[in-house]
Every structure is written in structure tokens, then in C-alpha cells.
């Protein structure tokens, strides 16, 4: 070994016993760190499958009769209207242009369900009377999720200008419904831990705890290592 070499620092080729211990410690912690963060998320990617909310299945089941031909029974139309409201209820998650398609479709189906004598009411500005009438035709009750949907009506109904749904909305509605009603789920997201969906708890809480613990282990181990090799750190 030349004098030049004895000063060569290379993490992977430790020269002293102390450096070897250090390398082992850092490598172990770094591997735990990487597997815990990235390993878990690769697993999450691997196991998740796009899963539809029940509302999407309901929407898809009534879609052909409600929109493509006009054979739909009232219950089907009500289901259709409720599915629009279910997505509008996601509020902040929904893009504005998607909201307007949903609102238009909702207003159209509510209009469609009205007897001819009441229809003109829906071609004017939305008021308390139209809202009460709409809630009744959709069949919304005063409790449970129905109540939330009822509360959504004032901001969701718009003036109906066309007795038919326009072609653009017809083509864009199914993809919009699919976008907001499909979620990446798996046993990791379904399993409940401390009230959390497991994956959420793991990322939001466990990983942070792990980070602190890793740091603690490192600080303690290095102190021990330094004592063992009688290394005094200068001030």
C-alpha cells in the first residue's frame, strides 16, 4: 500500500474496521429505507386493480335505456339522476367542465321525468319550487345520503334549454362517470387499521415513524461504534 492509497476513501472499499462497521450500518439502514418507501409502493402498484363504485355499475346498467332509446322506466331515470348527483357530490374533486356536463345531464333527466304541464317550469330560472319538484321526481328522501343529494340540487340544477340531451354530452358522459367512479383498490386499501385504510396509515404515519426510528438507530449505533474503536470526535 502506497502513501497515496492509505488516504483513499471509497464507501464500498472501507480501509479500517471502523469504516467497515460504518458501511454495514449505512447500507442496512439505506436498504430498509428504500424497501419501506419504494418497495411498498411498487407492491401497491402491482396489486391494485381499478375497482368501480356501485354507482358506476348502476349508471352503466340504466345508460342504454335512459339515453340510447327512451324505453326507460321511472326507477331507471331516478337511478340515472342519482348517479349524476353522486359524482357532483364529490365537489372539489370534479373538474368544472365535467361538472357542467353532469349538471346539464341531471337537469335534462329531471325535465324528462316531468308531466307536460310542469315542464315549462324547468325552462326558467331554478327556484325553490323547481328544486322541491325535482327532489320529489328523483325520489330523494329527507335522510341519509338522499339528504346530501337534496342539498346539492340548488347548485346542480340548471335551466333546461333543449328537450333532448345534446350529442356532445352523450359522448362525454360515460368517460366522465368512469373517471370519477373508478378507484385503485386492493387488499392493502380495503384492510382497515386504526380506523385508516391500511395503505394510507402506512404512508402517512408508519413511514414517518420508521424514518425517526432509523435516524435514532443510526445515531445510537454510530456513538457505540466510535466508543468501540475509541474514536474521539474533535470539537
Amino acid at each position: 500500500m502506497t502513501t497515496q492509497d492509505q488516504y483513499n476513501i471509497n464507501f464500498f472499499k472501507p480501509l479500517t474496521e471502523h469504516a467497515k462497521g460504518n458501511k454495514k450500518l449505512i447500507s442496512s439502514l439505506a436498504i430498509i429505507w428504500a424497501v419501506a418507501v419504494f418497495g411498498f409502493h411498487f407492491l401497491l402498484i402491482f396489486v391494485t386493480t381499478p375497482t368501480a363504485e356501485q354507482t358506476l355499475d348502476e349508471f352503466n346498467s340504466v345508460w342504454p335505456q335512459v339515453v340510447e332509446d327512451t324505453s326507460a322506466a321511472t326507477e331507471m331515470k331516478q337511478t340515472f339522476a342519482k348517479s349524476m348527483l353522486a359524482v357532483l357530490g364529490k365537489n372539489i374533486a370534479v373538474k368544472d367542465n365535467h361538472k357542467s356536463v353532469l349538471k346539464e345531464s341531471l337537469s335534462w333527466i329531471v325535465f324528462d321525468m316531468q308531466p307536460d304541464s310542469i315542464k315549462p317550469l324547468f325552462t326558467k330560472e331554478v327556484n325553490d319550487e323547481t328544486i322541491i319538484q325535482a327532489a320529489a321526481t328523483i325520489g330523494l328522501k329527507a335522510e341519509g345520503f338522499d339528504k346530501i343529494m337534496k342539498d346539492l340540487l340548488p347548485t346542480s340544477l340548471t335551466k333546461v334549454e333543449n328537450p333532448t340531451l345534446n350529442a356532445e354530452s352523450i359522448s362525454s358522459l360515460p368517460p366522465i362517470m368512469k373517471l370519477y367512479l373508478t378507484h385503485n383498490q386492493s387488499f392493502l386499501t380495503d384492510f382497515n387499521f386504526l380506523g385508516f385504510p391500511f395503505h394510507y396509515w402506512y404512508t402517512a404515519q408508519f413511514l414517518l415513524i420508521l424514518f425517526v426510528v432509523l435516524c435514532l438507530i443510526y445515531a445510537i449505533s454510530i456513538d457505540k461504534l466510535n466508543t468501540k474503536f475509541e474514536i474521539v470526535e474533535e470539537t
Binding site: I9, L29, K147, Y200, W201
Partner: protein, 545 residues
Amino acid sequence: MVLFSGFAFGQEATKLEGEFKIGPAIILIILLLTFILVGVFNRAKDTKTYWAAGRKISPVGAGMAIASNWMSAASFLGMAAVMYGAGYHGLAYVVGWTGGYVLLLILMAGQIRRYGKYTAADFIGDRYYSQGLRGFGAGLAIFISFSYCVGQFAGIGLMFKWILGIDFAWAVIIGASVVLAYTLISGMLGVTKNMQIQYVIIIISFIIPLFILSYKFGYFYWLPQVGYGSVISDIVNGIAPGAGISAMGHDFAILPSPEFAMPWDPATGQTAFQWLAICFSLMIGTAGLPHVIQRFYVVPRAKDARWSVVWGLFFICILYWSAPVYSAFGKVLSSNPEVGKLAKDAIVVYTAQLGDLYPLVIGFLAAGAVSAAFSTVSGLLVAGASAFSHDLYYNVINPEASEKTQMMMARLGTILMAAGVAIIALLNLGLIAQLVAVAFSLAGCTIFPLFLLGIWWSGSNRTGAWAGLIAGSSVTLVALVYFIAGKFGVTLPFQEFINYYLNAWYFAWLGAPLAIIANIIGSKLSKNKTPIEIKKFLAEKVHNA
């Protein structure tokens, strides 16, 4: 009278901001006066005190300082905002901004302290024996501190506007003057002492509302950081109205919204790749930010540097464990469209308001946000100013400068930085406030590789350092050009491709590995090997070999 004056919050979201709120204003003024007084009583007498606090801070104290230096408006307000808007995607920021400290500790903290320099550029210039690199490093440190600072001023403006009911320009002018005053008077020691006080204020003001919210809406309130798990599950499954619990005239209820908690939900438009890339980039960016690295110079020994990171991370995590609680309650409380689509940046304060908390608690919360922004700004000002006066002026331009001249240049640098930041913040260019995104990846692409290889491989030499810097900077430049072009609506070739893979928030996932590879190749190919004195210093002083 004072206690009740802020009580008349309206039912509508539009009234959440606007008028002057006297209770919160008094809290804020008391806090600002305290900061200045602490600065005055801990005045810096020489450059060593100004830059490195005389190396007299204990690990717990340094940990608090690390935490409040770190926790900015982005942590206090921004993180909850991202989770509020994009659900699980926001957790990439929570994990990214904490996980980086593990890297920082196990790979660098003790070694940086043992290297014994004042600034990040100092280390780079010394280790790679190059004045050019020192200058480049100083330039990077100034750019990163500067753009990061502008982002903080946006947060300060937002909260001053909310508390005082004044417009953004005045909010920025007042905020800038106060930060500048005590940074100038005290330097790092005053700043470090202040940071400890600020940490306590930040954390208490952030956590109190969570206990009240959890209690009020019937969740496990002894530890809201665990209790909110049920809120998350309830959001996924929906909360039916009932039990007469209401918030500002609306039921505490929400339709099933799994998009809030499910990973990379299609509704958020964010993918798994983006989650991982952001997480990784923020981690290495954290470990490369000059104002973060610089904290290790203020503790007496390498052991203290290590323990200060352990404490610092723990203190940071207390806030990061809590932030998602705001987004969860905010999601439910603002689920009715009549409440309106809230300004996401202020969701923390709005959630407290929508939860109808006692106005002074909300005022204290807003003052906490200001403290968070202030503590970060002061750290940034010191980091930027020291890069200017110590690295550029003293080491490159005028090595003969006396202690007195250096002090003067340090103060001048601080004033220039603060004035520059205030002017740019006043112009209110959205673009520049967003440059904080670039700061992380830029630090990860440039400073992180230089420290990592500089400490752990004595074979890394000047040529390698330049090669790595050029590689890292090139990736940054591409990302920056596309980012700015996008803001001005210009379409460049492969715009969509580059925007997705080299986004301003996460281009370091590619840039950092490239910079490391370039550094290694450059070092291997170069005939100009690392001088023996530097190897000896590295082996003996830094690694105790």
C-alpha cells in the same frame, strides 16, 4: 370586546377573508415584537457568530431550529392543500419532505460538520479545489434560497391579508421589513434562538385546532393524529347526515368519496410514476438544500450534528403527522358546493373557520403560519447572504477583507436578498412563486451529488465535479425551459412528453442519477487527480481513518 370582535363570521365562504380581525392581529403583533426582542438580546458580534451561531447550540435546540427552519409556509399551509385537492397524491410530499432527512443523516450530517466549513459553497470550493466551482456553488445557493424565499413571501402575504384585511402589497412590505430587521440585528444566533421559539409556536398553534375539531365532530380526540383515521375511512364510505352535528349551517356529511384516499386515483390526474418521482426528488432535494445543510455548522460537535437531525426530524414529523387531519376535515366541511371551492392555499385556516372554532384559536393558527414562513425566510436570508459575502466576496473577490468589512458585506447581502425577494413578491408573478418547485430538484441534481461523492469517494475530482454539475444543470435547464414555455403558453417539441417526465417538481429523478454518473465518469477519465492533501484531510478529519 377584543375577545369577541372576530366572532361574526358569516355563513358563506366568501366572508372567510376580507375584514380586519383584531384578536388575531394582536397575537401577530405580540409574536413579531418577541422575535425582534429575541434578536436584539442575542446580537451577533462577529462573522463566526453571524454565520454559525458561535457553534454553541445544544442538539435539542438545534433540532428545534432545524424543524422550524424547515417547516415553511409550504409545510404549514401547502401540504394540507395538496392533500385536500389531490388526496393520496399529497402524501408524496409528506414522505418526500421527511424521508430526505434519513439520507441527510446517514450519508452526510456528521461528515459535513467534521469538514468544518461555514457554507455549502465553501465545502464545494474546498473539496474540489476550485474557485470556479465555489462561485458556481454560491450562485446555486443564492438562486435556490432566493426562489424558495419568494414562495414563502406568498404565504406571508396570504396570512397578513387574512389577519389584517390589508392588500397583498402591504402585507409583503410589512412582512419583509420585520424579517429583515431581526435577521440583520442578530444574524444566525438571534435567528437560531428565534427558531426555537418559533417552533413551539408553530407546533402548538397547528395542533390545538385538531383536538377541538376531533372532539367537536365525535372522533377520537385524545390523539387526533390517530383519530383522523376514521375520518379518512368515513370519507371513503360516505358520512350520512345526522346526530345534529353541523358546521356553519351545513351537515357534517359527505357522499362516498374514495378518490380522497385511494392511491393515484384517476380523478386526481396523477399517476403512480409521478408519486414515486416526486417522493424521490423531494428526498434528495431536501438533502441538498443549502439552508438545510448549513444547519449542521451551528452545533459544537459531529455527534451533536447527528443528534440534532434525529431531534429535528422528530419535531418535523409532529407537524407532518398532523397536516393530513386538516385536509380530511376540510374535505368533509367543504363538501357542499355552497361553501364553495375554497382557495386551497389557505385550507388549513379555512378548515378551522368552517369547523366554527373559537376565533382566537384560528387567529393563533394564522400567526403560526406566519411564524413558519418567517423562520424559513430568516434561515434562507442567512444562507443566501453568506453565499454572497463569504463565498463570493471574501473567498473569490477580496480575500484580504477584514472582519469588519466581511460583517458589512454579510449585512449588505442580507438587505439585497430581502429587498430583491420583496420586490419580486410585490410584482406578484405567479411564475416566480412556483420556482420553489424547481429549487428542490435543482438542489437534488447539483448540490446533492457533489456532497455525496465528495464525502464518500476521494476519487471524485474537479473534472468529475464539473461534469456532474453540467449534467445536472442541463437537465434542470431543459425542465426549466419547458416549464416557463408552458406558463407562457408556448408549445415546444415533445412538450407533453417533457412536461410529464421532466416536470419542475420532480426532474431530479433523472437529473440526480445522471449527475452522479457524469461525476464518476469525469473523475475516472481525468488525469488531474484529487490532490493528496485533500485526500488526507478527508481520510483523517472527515472519516477518522
